[in-house]
């Protein structure tokens, strides 16, 4: 009986084109769209050289420290500026066209920076120019102190320029005691792909919903026949669910293959945990489908609309339509994540990717398990209450 139900359910599911689209093709299409749309997004946030204009007039030629510093800051692999030396008119024109983010002009008693708008590039430029000015002050003070000390020692035959050069070199070249540590797993667009996996898991609800509808006497002729037949209901139900699970696993495998092999999506170093979470998430999806099928006394199309809407709303709150949304929900309404299986799966995958520890992952995994049990329990209660006219 199990095998018969399993094969029949499998045939039925694969023949329903809209169902195959939503559970298998739609996640693949979304994966391709995400890959195309987010390919450049992170490279755009990394610091790149700032295009800076410098008005190369007599005032600038007098500012020796500024001149030398800008030259050194625009050379080498770690250059901060891409400098264009020009006239005032050329600088204004370039600023209006947007080919430079600002330009420097040296006045009698000050250095002026002209920019078009506030922004991180403009702030960095202003900060570096301030630093150059501050460095000048510090080097002057250090040199004065050193010269004073030498004179007090009675050493009057000083090589002033050599001394200043040495102090400047020591000041600028001595490494600072700041150690930068960057987690290699900082790609936040991964959240989009994780929410996609979660969406795919939850779309398995449509598979179980469709098959359960065929088991319900008030919804289909097949349901009437199977209800009055003497066949074991448990074997039939498990065969049906096994077929749904198999189709879901095939869809997930295709999605994972596309993401890992074609788009090089990073799921961290714990693939076994990722698979475990995805399978549990798929089970949660199946349970949700059964619950919706049992609890809502509406037609199949309406049930599909309910499931798609619930899943899409879950995806929205899990960060699929804007990664920031997930953070806002995590920090302001964390309770919402306890009823959103999409958020649980997304967060579990994020925890595996970003953190070295497993506490958060297991919390998410157990949460999905509890969600599945609740959905199944609710469905069971709903099924037990169902009765048809008795003769």
């Amino acid at each position: 009986m199990f095998l018969h139900e399993f094969i029949a359910s499998l045939k039925l599911l694969l023949r329903k084109k809209p169902l195959v689209f939503w559970t298998i093709a739609f996640p693949l299409v979304m994966g391709c769209l995400f890959h195309l749309a987010f390919a450049n997004i992170e490279s755009g946030e990394v610091f790149d050289k700032v295009s800076l204009g410098v008005v190369n007039d007599a005032g600038f030629q007098k500012e020796m420290i500024l001149k030398e510093s800008l030259k050194s800051l625009s050379e080498g692999d770690d250059a901060i500026f891409d400098i264009t030396y020009c006239t005032l008119e050329e600088a204004n024109a370039a600023l209006d066209e947007g080919t430079i983010s600002g330009y420097v002009q040296c006045q009698e008693d000050s250095v002026d920076l002209f920019i078009r708008k506030n922004g991180i590039e403009e702030t960095i430029t202003s900060s570096v120019l301030e630093e150059i000015q501050a460095d000048g002050v510090i080097i002057t003070e250090l040199s004065t102190e050193k010269i004073k000390a030498q004179i007090l020692k009675g050493n009057f035959a000083l090589d002033f320029s050599g001394l200043i050069e040495e102090i400047t070199h020591d000041f600028l070249e001595t490494p600072t005691h700041v150690r930068e540590v960057t987690n290699p797993h900082m790609s936040y667009t991964m959240i989009e792909f994780y929410s996609l996996i979660a969406m795919s898991c939850l779309y398995s609800s449509m598979l179980s919903m469709t098959l359960i509808n065929y088991k319900m006497a008030n919804l289909s002729a097949v349901g009437k026949r199977s209800t009055v037949s003497p066949a074991s209901r448990l074997a039939g139900l498990t065969g049906t669910l096994a077929a749904s699970f198999l189709v879901q696993v095939i869809g997930l495998a295709l999605l994972f293959s596309l993401l890992i092999f074609a788009f090089r999506v990073n799921f961290g170093d714990h693939l076994g945990h990722v698979v475990l979470l995805s399978l549990t998430g798929s089970a949660a999806g199946l349970a949700l489908g059964i619950a919706v099928s049992v609890l809502f006394k509406v037609g199949e199309n309406m049930k599909i609309t309910i499931l798609i809407s619930l899943t899409m709303a879950g995806c929205f709150f899990a960060g699929m339509m804007g990664i920031e949304t997930k953070y806002v929900i995590d920090t302001t309404v964390p309770a919402l994540n306890l009823v959103n299986p999409v958020a649980m799966i997304t967060d579990g995958l994020y925890a595996l990717y970003y953190y070295d520890t497993f506490e958060r992952f297991f919390f998410d995994l157990i949460s999905i398990g509890i969600f599945t049990v609740i959905m199944l329990a609710v469905s069971l209660v709903g099924l037990r209450r169902q009765s048809y006219d008795h003769f």
């Binding site: 739609f26 769209l33 600023l95 920019i115 102190e145 936040y188």
Partner: protein, 385 residues
């Protein structure tokens, strides 16, 4: 009237889906459209950082904390826990700065004591690193002269005072232009989904063979039937446009009454016309109602992702943008983005932008032309049958 009432019935039946698309637009807009005052003076960007100070009593660490307080959007924490790590991952803060225990004493004694800087690798993180290097370098330099701890702090503070003037040449309210552009770009997704979904659904109901046969034998003339159907679809699209334009005023406020706001609304009107024509053309091709949901979702999401409604087009790969030229949403969004970047909005500056709107309109005409051809072909085929 019968057609209009049928139209209303379909809308009523699918109201939940329309509400869903609208709610997504509203929530995303509320999250992203934070109101800001017009900016005409320079204000340095203040990257958010989290400071974990394990040496809170030393003058050196207090001096560094005061400097960071002034230069960054600083929050302090006892430990760098998961809340802080999450904030770093989601770019809510640019860095986590950890001052080690006995930092002040160790630096004054000439021992190495590293400040740990956890970054996200962004431009803001690089800026925090530059600032921190700048402060610590000055601190190390003054410590090497043998000054007392408090003197070191005051000397560093004095030496790092700003000495340059920053002037903004543009007087434009960039924040308002960005808000208008963001809202209308994102609205392209919601508008397209709402129009394609409902129009295709209604048309597939009317194109159902039995209903079509009934309407042919009905007393209503074929011309009146088609005109009423087109009028109902156009009225629906018009209402969708009015609704999203009204929402833009509620969310953005006064800037919507400017020339930029008005032009964005006109652009949205042309977009709703083109989307309506596209939906009409699709309805001549789609027979099954189930396919409508699929087409509406793939088309609206695909256009939104590939044309820059969700991700700014400046961040999309060149190849994607070239391909996007074939989609109407690209020209709609391209107009909005060019309008946003205008220094001054007047006839002279706006005229070059109008070619985007013209292309968008032409797309609409082409879709209408194609639907006429497809319908004629279909009628021809049916007459042969």
């Amino acid at each position: 009237m019968i057609i209009f009432s049928t139209f209303l019935k379909v809308i009523k039946k699918n109201l939940f889906t329309i509400i869903l698309y609208t709610a997504i637009l509203l929530i995303v807009s509320v999250i992203n459209l934070q109101s800001t005052d017009p900016v005409t003076d320079f204000s340095a960007e203040k990257p958010g950082i989290c400071l974990v100070n394990h040496d809170p009593d030393s003058a050196l660490s207090k001096g560094l904390e005061a400097f960071l307080q002034k230069q960054t959007d600083l929050q302090t924490s006892e430990e760098a826990g998961s809340a802080e790590e999450d904030a770093l991952f989601y770019r809510k803060i640019a860095a986590i700065v950890i001052i080690p225990e006995h930092y002040g004493a160790d630096v004054m004694a000439g021992k190495s004591s590293d400040i740990i800087l956890k970054t996200s690798g962004t431009a803001s993180s690089s800026f925090v690193k530059m600032m921190l290097d700048r402060y610590v370098r000055a601190q190390q330099a003054y410590v090497s002269t043998g000054l007392e701890e408090e003197k070191v702090v005051s000397s560093v503070e004095r030496s790092l005072e700003s000495r340059i003037n920053v002037r903004i040449t543009s007087q434009k309210d960039a924040a308002a232009s960005s808000q208008i552009s963001f809202y209308f770009n994102f609205a392209s997704y919601s508008m397209m989904a709402c129009i394609v979904f409902i129009v295709c659904l209604v048309m597939s109901s009317f194109n159902n063979t039995n209903i079509r046969k009934r309407s042919i034998v009905a007393s209503m003339s074929n011309r009146r039937y088609t005109t009423s159907l087109l009028l109902a679809c156009s009225t629906y699209s018009f209402v969708v446009w009015i609704f999203f334009s009204a929402v833009s005023y509620c969310l953005i406020g006064a800037p919507m009454l400017s020339a930029s706001g008005a032009l964005s609304i006109v652009n949205a009107l042309v977009f709703s016309f083109t989307t309506l024509s596209l939906s009409y053309m699709l309805s001549t091709l789609i027979r099954e109602k189930e396919a409508v949901t699929v087409i509406a979702n793939v088309l609206s999401l695909g256009s939104a992702f590939l044309c820059g409604a969700f991700v700014p087009s400046s961040m999309l790969p060149d190849g994607v943008l070239i391909g996007a030229h074939a989609l109407p949403s690209y020209w709609y969004i391209h107009f909005n983005e060019r309008l946003r970047d205008l220094e001054e909005v007047n006839l002279e500056t706006v005229l070059p932008l109008m070619n985007d709107m013209v292309v968008l309109f032409l797309f609409g005409l082409v879709f209408i032309g194609l639907s006429v051809v497809i319908s004629a072909k279909k009628r021809q085929m049916q007459s042969f049958e």
